[in-house]
Symmetry: D2
Subunit: 284 residues, 4 copies
C-alpha cells in the first residue's frame, strides 16, 4: 500500500539495449526516488514494457512538467507511455444487472478506502440495486434495454458525460455491441464466470456441470469485439466435487468472481496492466 503521492510511469517500446539506463538516469538526474520498478520483454513481439513508481515529493516539479521533460526521451525510443498521478483518482462507471455480489464487494472496497477510485455513477438495466447504491451516496441510473441500440448509445454517452476512465461490467449480463467495445479499447473490464477459454458465452456453470470438471473458475478480462476473447487480466479456480449441484457451482462461483474482479480491477487502476496484442503484462 503506497501512502505517499507518487507518479506511475508506464512505457512500451521496441526492445533494445539501454532503455532502463536511459529512463532511470532521466529520473535520477531530477532527484526522482523510484519506489517500485518492473520490466518485461515480450520476446515474440520484440517489445519492452516498463513500469516505475516515483515519489512525487522527490521531484522539484509537478506531473505536467515531468511529462514535458520526458517527451523527447520517449520519442527517441519510440515509446507508447503515460504518467499517472496518484492524487488524481480514476473514475469507474459500474454496470450491473440484478446480481449484486460483485457490486457489494466493489462498493465495500471503495467505502473502506481500499480501492482508491471515484465512482461517479452505477448504471443498471434493473431497479433492484438502487437503494443499496444510493445508500452509498452514489447516483444510480436506470437504463431501459428495450431498444438495445439506443440503450448502448445512452450508456456510452453516460460514460463520457461522467468522465469515466474505466467501464466495469460487474455481472452486467448483456453483450456489448462491437461499436462500444471498439470505442473504448482497454477501458472496459468484464468478469466472466468461467475459467476462459473454457465455457465461453451463456450459462458457463451449467456447461461446467455437464462436462464434469473438478474445478471451476472466473476470468477478469478486457472487453473486445470478440465475445469473452479479450486480453485476460486475472483468473482463479476453486475445487468442486460430484456432490455439488449447479446451484452450488453458482454459489462457489460468486466468491471467486468477486475476488478475481477485485484483483484485476486493482491491477488496472494502479496502472499495473499493459496490453500486448491479446495478452496482458501484469506488474504485480
Amino acid at each position: 500500500m503506497t501512502v505517499h503521492r507518487h507518479y506511475t510511469l508506464t512505457i512500451s517500446c521496441p526492445d533494445r539495449a539501454g532503455i532502463i539506463a536511459a529512463v532511470s538516469s532521466f529520473i535520477a538526474q531530477h532527484g526522482g526516488f523510484i519506489v517500485e520498478a518492473s520490466y518485461h520483454t515480450e520476446l515474440e513481439a520484440q517489445r519492452f514494457f516498463m513500469r516505475q513508481e516515483i515519489r512525487a515529493d522527490s521531484l522539484p516539479f509537478e506531473a505536467d512538467e515531468l511529462r514535458r521533460r520526458f517527451a523527447p526521451l520517449a520519442q527517441e525510443f519510440d515509446m507508447s507511455w503515460q504518467l499517472a498521478d496518484s492524487a488524481v483518482k480514476k473514475r469507474l462507471v459500474v454496470l450491473v444487472s440484478k446480481q449484486d455480489h460483485c457490486l457489494d464487494d466493489l462498493l465495500h472496497r471503495w467505502r473502506s478506502g481500499e480501492l482508491l477510485v471515484d465512482i461517479p455513477c452505477v448504471i443498471s438495466n434493473h431497479q433492484d440495486l438502487r437503494s443499496f447504491v444510493e445508500w452509498h451516496g452514489i447516483p444510480f441510473i436506470h437504463v431501459d434495454m428495450t431498444d438495445k441500440a439506443a440503450a448502448f448509445d445512452r450508456i456510452a454517452a453516460l460514460f463520457e458525460q461522467h468522465r469515466g476512465d474505466t467501464m466495469v461490467l460487474a455481472r452486467f449480463m448483456q453483450i456489448l455491441p462491437p461499436m462500444l467495445c471498439q470505442r473504448f479499447p482497454g477501458r472496459i473490464v468484464n468478469i466472466h464466470h468461467s475459467f476462459l477459454p473454457s465455457f465461453v458465452g451463456a450459462r458457463p456453470y451449467h456447461q461446467a456441470y455437464l462436462r464434469g470438471v473438478k474445478l471451476i473458475g472466473a476470468t477478469c478480462h478486457y472487453v473486445t469485439d470478440e465475445l469473452d476473447a479479450g486480453p485476460i487480466i486475472e483468473q482463479d479456480t476453486v475445487r468442486i466435487d460430484h456432490g455439488d449441484t449447479v446451484d452450488d457451482l453458482v454459489r462457489y462461483g460468486r466468491d471467486i468472481e468477486k475476488t478475481v474482479l477485485a484483483r484485476g480491477l486493482r491491477y488496472h487502476v494502479e496502472d499495473r496492466v499493459l496490453i500486448c496484442g491479446n495478452k496482458t503484462i501484469v506488474f504485480r
Copy 2:
C-alpha cells in the same frame, strides 16, 4: 492409509429409499465392521452410488462367500456392483514415450509402498527409459510404432497377457485408436497436460501461452474414443505470469501433471471412482 485388509464394495443402482439400510443391515448381520462409507445420488440420472470399506477380519468368511451372499440383494435393487479385496493388488500396465516425470513419480510411489499395486511391465515406443525401469526390476517392453495398427494390437495383447487391470498413459504422446478405447472402458487412465476442456489435442502449453491465460492445469481422465473428452477424474491448476515462456509452462506443467495423475490413479486404484455417463463420482 488403511492398514488392515479390507473389502471395498462399490455399488450403482436406480435411486430409491432404503438402499443404505438394506446394504448396511446386510453387512451388520454378518458382523461386518464398516471403516469408511460414502453415498451420492446423481439427480439427473436418478442413480444412487455407494462405496463401503469393510474390515476383512470382521467377517466370518472370505471375499467370494461375501460376493455369493450379497448377489441376491444386488439383484433386488438392480445394482451394478463389485467387491475388491485389498489383499489382491491391482495390476497397472504403464505406457510412456520419452518424458519420464510421470513415470519417475509413479515408480517412486510404487517402490516406497505408497501406491499399492503391481506393475507387471512398462511399455514404450522409445528405448530411453529402459535402464531406469529395469533398475526397479520391472520388465521394459519396446513397441515399434511404424505400423500403428499392428503396434496397438500388440499393446492390447501385452496388456491382456500381463493380466493388466488398468492401462496408464503416463505422457504416452500417442492417440489410441477407438477400437482400443472401446475395448477397455473405464480401464485406461490418461494424464492430459491442460485444464480440460481448454486446449484439447496437441501442444496445449503452446495454446495456453498464446491465449495468455493466468493459470495452467492438468487433467487425469478415462480414455474414450473421443479425444480428451472422457470422464474427468482429477484436475488442478497452477499460477503463471507474463514472464513465463512456453518452456516455463512446460516445467510448471510437469509438476502438476505428475501430482494430478498420482491423485487420480490413487482414487482409481482404491475403487473411489464410479462412472456415471461422462462424469465421475470420486469418493475421496
Copy 3:
C-alpha cells in the same frame, strides 16, 4: 444447495459395529429418504460421528415425533444427538468493532439468501457501523466497554434475550472472559486473522511480517477459555512476498478472513460441524 425442507440428524456415540445399519433401518422403516449421509470414526477417542439429511416430506410425521421415536435407539447406542429442522432458521448474534469487511460479507450473504439464518441484532462497542446495519433493517446495539465485566454481562444477556443460537465474533477485537466462553460451549464462533497455531494473540499480521513467512492465513474456530486455542472449523492461506508491507498483509488478510468465516459459519449453521475434544469433524 438443498431446496426441499429437510431434517438434519447429527450423532456422536461410542464406536461399534451396526450403528449405520440401526440408524438407516430406523429411517427406512418410516419411509425416510436420505439426501446426504456422512460418517466418521475418531480412532483415538473410539467415537463414531454421523450426519444425515432426511427429506421432511418423505416422513409421515413432524420433527418432534421423529425425535420422540428416535430417542430409544439413541439411548441404546449411548448417543449424543440432535435433530435440526431446516424450516427453523438458526439465530446469529453478530459482534463487531470498527472493521466491517466480515460484517459486510455476512450481511450480503444473508440478504441474498445464501446464508439461511436470522440475525436478530448486531452488537458493537463502536457506533461506526450503525447506519450500514440499520439499512438492512437489523437492530444495532451499542455496548459501552468502559466497565468490561458489566459489558460482557450485558452481551450475554442480549444474546439470550434475542434467543441467539450462535454468537459470531466478526472481528470483534475484544477478548471474551472465560465465564462467557464456558457458558456457551460450541456456540461462539470467531475468526482469527492468522493461520493458527501460528501468531496467537494481538497483531498477527505484524508478527507474520516480522517472521518473514511466505503465506498468511485465517482461522475460523470455536471460542474456548484458552485464547485462540479452541477447535478449528476452517482455515485457509494466501501467498504474499517480500514486496508486501504490513498494510498489504492486512488487505490480503481481509479477503481470506471473510471467506474463511463465511465457510466456517456455513458448515456450522448447516450442522456439519461436530466437536470431538479440541478437534472438529466437518462433514462438507
Copy 4:
C-alpha cells in the same frame, strides 16, 4: 527458462536515489543487454536489493573483467554484491537419511536437465539409498553418526573437499550443531515438514494432527543456529480433513515437501534469494 549464457548480478546496499540509474548506465555503457531486472527496498532496514540478468554475449569481455570494472561503482554505493556466471554450475551436496521422496525428486530434476547444478556427492547416515544414488553415477558417502561431533566434522570436511556451494538437507533428520550452521551462513538449505513457525522440531505432522488444523504445510529455509528459525525461502500448504490419519498427513506432506524444496532450491541456485536479517527477498 534462460537458454543463453548470462551473468546474474545481485546487489544489496544502503538505499538512496540513483542506484538503478548508476548500475543500469554502467551496464548500458558496455552494451550489456539486461534480460531480467528486479528491485526491492526493505523499508525498516533502509536497504536496497537488486538482481539483474545480463546476456553474456552482449558484453565485450568475460565475467572477471566485468567484476573488475564494476568494483569501483560497488564501493561508491557501499554494496554487498556478487556476479554469477550461468556457465559455472553450482555444486550441491545433498544430505539424506532413509526417506527418499525429496532425493528422488531432486535427482529427477537434475537428470532431466531442469535443475542445472552439479551434485558431487550424496551423504547419508544410512545405507538405504546407495543403489539409487549410484545408478545416477553420483558418489554415495555413508557417514556413521555414532560419534555426532566427529560425524559433523566429517560432513563439513566432505562438503569443502567436494567444493560444495550449497548443502541441501533433503529430509536429513539430524539437527546440525551451531558450529556447522555458523560456518556456512546462507549456504545450508533445509526442508521442514510443517508450515513454520507452527510445529517447530520433531514430529510436526503428529503435532498438526493433535491440534486439528485444516491445512498442513512445508517450509524451505536457510539453516541458522536456532532450530527451524532461519530465513524462510518458500512455503506452501495443502488441505486435509478430519478423515485423514497421521499417516495420511505424512503422505500429503511428502508431496508438498518435495515441491517446496524444489522451488526454494531453484530460487537459491538461480541467485534469486537475497537475505536481509532473518527474512528473504525472493526475486521470482
